[in-house]
């Protein structure tokens, strides 16, 4: 068709008389056929064309029934016998549930009665111990409930920890305490030195090219030095090796040129036989010797066995003893024993009134829980930036705040201006300020504790806020500074890992919720300004 249309129309084919009417004729033919056969099939609805034959369809239910009706031969045989009882395949459910409810009801009734008897809210939990079930309980789904550790819950201090101890036992305990402290010191001394954040020296190598050249120089120098040494030694060795090889070659040559005569061969074979005999003899001798010294060998074996056994026993005992004092390793961190609570010699007064008692019993309890393997030991997590990663964290410092009159260390925000406040994080290279524009401000009235604040112009309170992304190698985020009754800046801390707390006792990164707990009086302000 396309060809025809593209060709020139000037020929015969272009005439109207020559245009084919085949398709029209086909259509007419078809339609007359359809009319004769009773209409177009494609136009007819499917119901007219098909019909569902339901004559052989059996409903599912009926099928099951039919299946049940079928009686197996064995059953039919059994059925004939009147003494055989029919066993139902499944238990009827309704009965059981009724029973259950009855039991429950009776129980509740009992309890209610008990309650009435007591006239109180509480009931005796172990009241039915003696009557129905002594030992096993249907209420207890777990048969085995065992403590993981053999360490007692309350460990009584040794005699040396008495408030008025005998001199010997006190000395013993003191020695232990000192040992504990010294261990820490030695560990710190012997451990690797931390990598310094900053290095003193001229920082004049500014461009990379200069740095590279210096590096190259160092490397080249070193390699040259090492190379020099290496070359010398290698050269000697090579020379030696050459000498040896040349000698060996000469011999080889000599051997190959010499002919092996019959005589020599005979001699060799004789010698070989002789050697064989000798070795046989030797073996025999050895065997007889060994047989002679059998008791000795047996003794040796017994000795070895005993030694092994002793070793095993020692190992076993050591393991048990370790388990008694050391908890299982449950997590990332090892359990660290709390310091021994013992009086110093000058603190021993013999008077209960003047006793300098321990005031950190809560820690003692906590450590006991850790020791028994109930809690997983953990470090002081508040120091870490790597916690509460989905929240922003604020820096708090424990120490004597600026201008405070009392000596007691308290938690407060870092003072002074932003940069100096952050200085204790190390240097400022991993901190950058997002902008110079302040974000918010906060007005803090000078309290009685800080009466002289106005004399200093820059008595700022800095509030540093960081947000970290979990997946990145380094952390980034914002730091906000409250400058005293003025401004609030943003900066971000990048990978703060080393801290130098010079004047402060401790520091912590806290979330907003924890911050509110520290400063309940400023809760309103924090709620309005800080995001969590």
């Amino acid at each position: 068709m396309g060809n025809r249309s593209k060709s020139s129309r000037k020929g015969k084919k272009a005439w109207r008389a020559n245009i084919s009417t085949e398709d029209i004729e086909d259509f007419f033919e078809k339609s007359t056929k359809d009319a004769l056969s009773g209409g177009n099939l494609s136009a007819a609805p499917s119901e007219d064309l098909f019909h569902v034959d339901k004559s052989h369809d059996i409903p599912v239910k009926w099928k099951i029934e039919k299946h049940r009706e079928k009686v197996l031969r064995c059953d039919s045989v059994l059925k004939k016998n009147p003494f055989v009882q029919v066993v139902s395949s499944s238990k009827p459910k309704s009965k059981i549930s009724k029973k259950n409810t009855n039991v429950v009801e009776s129980k509740t009734l009992k309890q209610a009665q008990k309650n009435v008897d007591d006239g109180s809210v509480m009931t005796d939990l172990w009241g039915d111990d003696d009557d129905d079930n002594n030992g096993e309980h249907e209420k207890n789904p777990r048969k085995i409930w065992k403590m993981t550790s053999t360490i007692p819950a309350v460990e009584v201090d040794p005699a040396g920890c008495s408030y008025n101890p005998t001199a010997e036992s006190h000395e013993d305990m003191l020695a232990e305490a000192v040992a504990q402290e010294m261990q820490k010191v030695y560990k710190a001394e012997l451990g690797p030195e931390p990598v310094p954040l900053t290095i003193d020296g001229e920082a004049n190598i500014e461009d990379e090219a200069g740095l590279l050249s210096v590096c190259n120089r160092i490397i080249n120098g070193k390699s040259a030095y090492f190379l020099g040494v290496d070359n010398g030694s290698e050269g000697e060795e090579e020379a030696d090796a050459e000498n040896e090889s040349s000698e060996a070659g000469n011999k080889k040559l000599a051997r190959t040129t010499k002919r092996v005569t019959r005589v020599v061969l005979n001699k060799r074979s004789r010698q070989k036989a002789l050697r064989k005999m000798e070795t046989k003899e030797k073996l025999k001798e050895k065997l007889s010797k060994e047989i002679d010294s059998l008791p000795k060998i047996l003794k040796e074996i017994a000795k070895d066995d005993k030694e092994k056994q002793n070793k095993l026993i020692r190992k076993k005992i050591a393991k048990e003893e370790v388990l008694k004092i050391r908890p299982p390793r449950l997590g990332k961190h090892k359990y660290e024993a709390p310091p021994v609570q013992v009086l110093l010699t000058e603190e021993m007064t013999g008077s209960l009134r003047k006793l300098k008692a321990c005031c950190t019993l809560a820690r003692d309890r906590f450590k006991s829980l850790e020791k028994r393997g109930i809690l997983v030991p953990s470090k002081n997590i508040r120091r870490s930036l790597y916690r509460a990663l989905d929240k922003k964290k604020y820096l708090l410092i424990l120490g004597k705040p600026f201008g405070a009159t009392s000596d007691k260390p308290i938690c407060h925000f870092p003072e002074k201006c932003a940069e100096s406040a952050l200085k204790f994080l190390g240097d400022l290279t991993h901190i950058y300020f997002v902008g110079n524009a302040p974000m918010a401000h906060m007005a803090i009235q000078p309290t009685e504790e800080t009466p002289d604040l106005p004399s200093y112009k820059v008595n700022n309170i800095a509030l540093i806020e960081t947000k970290k992304e979990k997946c990145s190698n380094y952390s980034y985020g914002y730091t906000i500074f409250f400058i005293f009754c003025r401004f609030l800046f943003r900066c971000s801390v990048v990978a703060a890992s080393k801290y130098k707390i010079s004047n402060y006792e401790d520091f912590m990164w806290v979330t907003k919720d924890e911050l509110l707990a520290f400063f309940p009086e400023h809760a309103e302000f924090f709620n309005n300004t800080i995001v969590s």
């Binding site: 005699a159 008495s162 299982p328 209960l352």
Partner: protein, 592 residues
């Protein structure tokens, strides 16, 4: 193929199948870490240490069955419900719908731990066995300052106080206290209930602090469970005395911070069969509940000071407790006819607990006390000052340590060493078994002798191994007698050994004869035999002893033998340490 390759779809085996890490557990339980921790504490599920840590050494592992045990806990659903409810409250608050938030807060869903206690401690004995930690924690939180920062409410501190006092009142009423040890940390007590030894530690009367390295959230969860446990235990114990449990106290004494005394009076009254009517007090206290918050704070400050303890257990009617242990009787009658008066500066709380537990009558300086300082019948005045001001001649002025030492020794010690202004003798720990340790301090020996002397009329004086000639006590108390006895015993031993030797020699001779008789043909044999016989025919006593000691080891099974060996090693270590201590003591003396 790698060593640990496991085709996909194949089940895991061994430790990989038995243990899961904490984060896996969180995922499978669909809870957050906080909730998981709470659940674990409450259900008593602890991390385990598998032999092979499949995921690495830095993970915490739980047993799979433990986790599935948690999965079926109804409390888990309850916690979820509470969480969703909290969200509702938060939403209301965020919409500034204060009314709705308040309304919602009043109908918060709550949970109870009763069922869990029953589950973890199927019998009462189980609960008693595990009471050490519980008591220590409750006693500790009874003296902690309430703080907003750590979420420690005044109400809870008060509840802890009440529970601890109830416990102490029961113990002192039943005279179940056995040992007391005052250490730097606090005061250790040991009581014996139904055959179980329960040890607990109470802090000294100073301010306890919150330290930074302690996660108080965790401790508070523990406390929550322990409060419930102790409440039920107290309930059971009080009912065993026929006393109604939530005790109704005299409000006047309570206000004076003398609840222990009030409790003891309450127990007395109810065990006598008297009906207790001060229900009025209870109702009045409930009316003033809203005011209570501020009052409680004030009261708590007062409570920080040592508060008082049951005093008047003296006027007990004769008990109907039939089966009383001998030890209980001894404890009950220790301070029977003595009357104590406590000065202001002594640890009142502790002494008010200890003295009645050993049958003493006690009063203190302050309001609500049973009797005043000028009472003529007072026998002992407990004082902890360098010098007493006005002294009554009829009574003895002693330091508080005297009481503790008396209690541990179970006799009334002479008071000269404990008088006012003197440095008392060392306070020894009753928890140390001197015999097992092998080293006996001097003062312990003195006490031992005194005890023996107290028992002397009934029992013969036991031979004391090491005597100090300088010690006057020894000479006083039948030292000579003991020495003669010991000499006799030694002589006896010698004669016995000699006889044994003789007997053995005779036996050997008999044997020799037999041997020579039987083997006549061989000429060389008798000589050898004789030589051997001569060697073995003069066995010293030590060798015999060794032989006899070896016998049982030969008979023992391997397991037992190993255990025996282990014990021997331990004993050796102990003896070495004793030697060391002795050496030190010598050095100390030499220095002085």
């Amino acid at each position: 193929m790698p060593k640990h390759y496991r085709p996909a779809g194949k089940k895991k085996e061994g430790n990989a199948a038995r243990y899961m890490t904490r984060s896996q557990a969180l995922k499978s339980l669909q809870v957050n870490l906080n909730l998981f921790r709470r659940l674990c504490i409450v259900k008593g599920i602890f991390p385990r240490e598998p032999k092979k840590k499949v995921k690495g050494n830095h993970h915490t592992y739980y047993h799979v069955k433990d986790i599935s045990f948690l999965q079926h806990e109804p409390l888990l659903e309850k916690f979820r419900e509470i969480k969703t409810y909290q969200k509702k409250v938060q939403k209301a608050k965020a919409k500034k719908n204060e009314e709705l938030a308040r309304l919602l807060l009043t109908r918060q869903p709550t949970y109870k731990l009763d069922r869990l206690i029953r589950e973890r401690y199927p019998t009462f004995i189980d609960a008693l066995r595990d009471l050490d930690d519980c008591l220590t924690m409750v006693h500790l939180f009874a003296v902690l300052p309430a703080s907003d920062r750590e979420n420690l409410e005044v109400k809870r501190v008060h509840n802890c106080r009440r529970l601890s006092h109830e416990w102490q009142a029961y113990i002192s009423r039943t005279h179940a206290l056995r040992k007391v040890f005052v250490s730097v940390k606090g005061i250790y007590y040991q009581a014996e209930l139904e055959g179980q030894k329960i040890t607990w530690l109470t802090p000294h009367a100073i301010q306890q602090v919150f330290t930074n390295d302690v996660d108080f959230g965790v401790l508070l969860t523990f406390l929550e469970f322990y409060e419930t446990l102790l409440a039920f235990t107290n309930f059971k114990l009080y009912h065993s005395l026929n006393v109604k449990y939530p005790p109704i106290l005299d409000s006047r004494l309570e206000a004076l911070a003398a609840d222990l005394y009030a409790l003891s009076r309450y127990i007395d009254a109810s065990s006598r069969g008297m009906t207790v009517e001060p229900k009025v007090d209870a109702s009045s206290s409930s009316q003033s509940n809203d005011r209570a918050e501020s009052e409680l704070r004030l009261a708590q400050l007062q409570h920080q000071l040592p508060s008082s303890e049951p005093g008047a257990l003296m006027h007990l009617v004769a008990d109907k407790e039939v089966e009383e242990h001998e030890e209980t009787r001894a404890c009950k009658s220790l301070f029977k006819d003595l009357k104590f008066f406590l000065s202001r500066e002594v640890p009142r709380e502790s002494l008010l607990f200890v003295l009645p537990a050993f049958g003493g009558t006690v009063s203190w300086e302050g309001e609500g006390a049973p009797f005043k300082e000028d009472d003529e019948s007072i026998t002992h005045h407990i004082i902890d000052k360098p010098s007493a001001g006005h002294m009554y001649l009829s009574r003895e002025y002693v330091q508080p340590q005297w009481i503790y030492d008396c209690v541990n020794a179970r006799i009334i010690l002479p008071t000269e060493k404990y008088l006012v202004g003197r440095i008392p003798p060392p306070h020894l720990s009753p928890f140390v078994d001197n015999e097992a340790e092998g080293y006996v301090p001097d003062y312990a020996e003195t006490i031992k002798r005194l005890q023996a002397a107290a028992r002397n009329d009934v029992l013969p004086f036991p031979g004391v191994g090491k005597e100090d000639l300088e010690d006057p006590q020894n000479l006083l108390y039948a030292g000579v007698m003991s020495r003669t006895e010991e000499a006799k015993a030694a002589e006896n031993k010698k004669t016995m050994a000699e006889r044994e030797k003789q007997y053995h020699e005779e036996l050997k001779k008999e044997l020799k004869k037999e041997v020579t008789g039987s083997v006549v043909d061989d000429v060389a044999a008798p000589v050898v035999e004789e030589g051997e016989g001569e060697e073995s025919s003069v066995p010293d006593a030590a060798q015999i002893a060794q032989d006899t000691a070896d016998m049982p080891t030969l008979m023992m099974s391997r397991k037992k033998r190993k255990l025996y060996d282990a014990m021997k090693i331990g004993q050796k270590k102990k003896s070495e340490s004793v030697e060391r201590i002795k050496q030190r003591k010598k050095n100390l003396k030499a220095d002085q």
